[in-house]
Symmetry: C2
Subunit: 287 residues, 2 copies
Amino acid sequence: MHNLQIPHATTISALRARIRSWRADGLSVGFVPTMGALHQGHLALVQLAKAQCDRVVASIYVNPAQFAPGEDFEAYPRSVIEDSQKLTEARCDLVYLPTTEVIYPEGFATTISMTGPAAGLESAARPHFFNGVATVVAKLLNQVRPDVAVFGEKDYQQLLVIRQLARDLDLGVDIIAGETVRERDGLALSSRNAYLSADDRQRAGRLNQILKQCAAALADGQSIAQARQTAFEACLAGFDSVDYVEVRCATSLAELADGRLDTPARVLAAVRLGKTRLIDNCAATPS
Amino acid sequence: MHNLQIPHATTISALRARIRSWRADGLSVGFVPTMGALHQGHLALVQLAKAQCDRVVASIYVNPAQFAPGEDFEAYPRSVIEDSQKLTEARCDLVYLPTTEVIYPEGFATTISMTGPAAGLESAARPHFFNGVATVVAKLLNQVRPDVAVFGEKDYQQLLVIRQLARDLDLGVDIIAGETVRERDGLALSSRNAYLSADDRQRAGRLNQILKQCAAALADGQSIAQARQTAFEACLAGFDSVDYVEVRCATSLAELADGRLDTPARVLAAVRLGKTRLIDNCAATPS
């Protein structure tokens, strides 16, 4: 199907045959699911998986179920040949390229929905997003059955949702977090950064600075409500609109009572620049 | 926790340790999930699993998520000691007895919902039933990771829902159907038959006769609507109320266009006798 010079599988049976042969040799398996349009952030996840496991599978699949009508499913950048080459250079052992017929065969009838860490934040703007993510990730994890799967902290809420999913459905996999890779000005690498105009690209780095300033204020003992409000106003001033700026529990994403921070937290934000939606987050720890 | 003389596990780690040792010996594993209150129908499922696999795990867990408020969760019969003895006599190799803390730990946040074969029939009277079933069965299948899991045809819609679930979530297990075991008068064995008064027990056998007569009429070329109507009226006459009597596609449970039967079908019914709800079904094949 794909004229690739690197090891790849497009069907579940081919994928499982390859993994079975590794398992027969006693090798451990790491997994990095992606939607392609790979950048250095994805490749760092592959390298992290490779540091923990003997063999690494990366998947490339743009999952229609996590895009709402009017979102950028059609426009989402696709570059499977270049992506596969990058993965191989990052020492990925197998590229899994399922088609939509493989992921959602005729008559597909199952939806996984999540509460807990999936509530609020991204779900407010994208109510079906985590259902789509959870369903496809459960499938991919069951197809690969890795020892370890790596997800980026860039999508911090997604990371916690997947961790909850793996625990709740007993998927038997360790979910490992990969640190966000950033441009020099702090902008988190994202496939959607390609949508930014040159002017908006100049403004985009501000988001990370605002979040870091918020975390610093929290560490200095500023109240959660005050630190959040300052960050929110800075986002309003710096971007075209603000979906949210929140300070949440770092492990559950539960809301925190106001006052001095007394537990590890995460500052999370989503803002818009033109038609592009930027999300980012950073750790905030009590002093 | 349980003072049982037979091999059992109450935690996922103990369960997986036992199964890992079997896998290391190259043995295949079959699985029979139950809610206990075991009768000969359950034991036939264990025997079927044992005929297909080297080792058999049976679970006993009364799943609160598949009971609605006002249903019989509290009253559901529990007899774990006797059940475990019966399972061992049926050559079950391991009895898995998870607690609710194991199945739904604090913070559990995931629901699996199904359309397709889950639509209508049982779902009309019990709208959350198959969500509860699908979620717990996905968990149990992921905990055990068997080669084969056996479900009884008595709960025919559940069997097809589980088959769809296993396919949709790529659970990597063959779902095998076990034939319904019946009393002499045709009544399908069910843990809930214990609720029947002596008088209602006399009437209960009629359900299977009505379904068999419906299947015979369909095989004789009677129209689906006519055969169904006759069965419906017989159920109305024979029981206190009727939830449904339906003729559906045997593989998808899709509704069938009226006319002569031209595809394998299933006649399914749910009726009530006093406070007891009886369900049953039988195959109908074109002549």
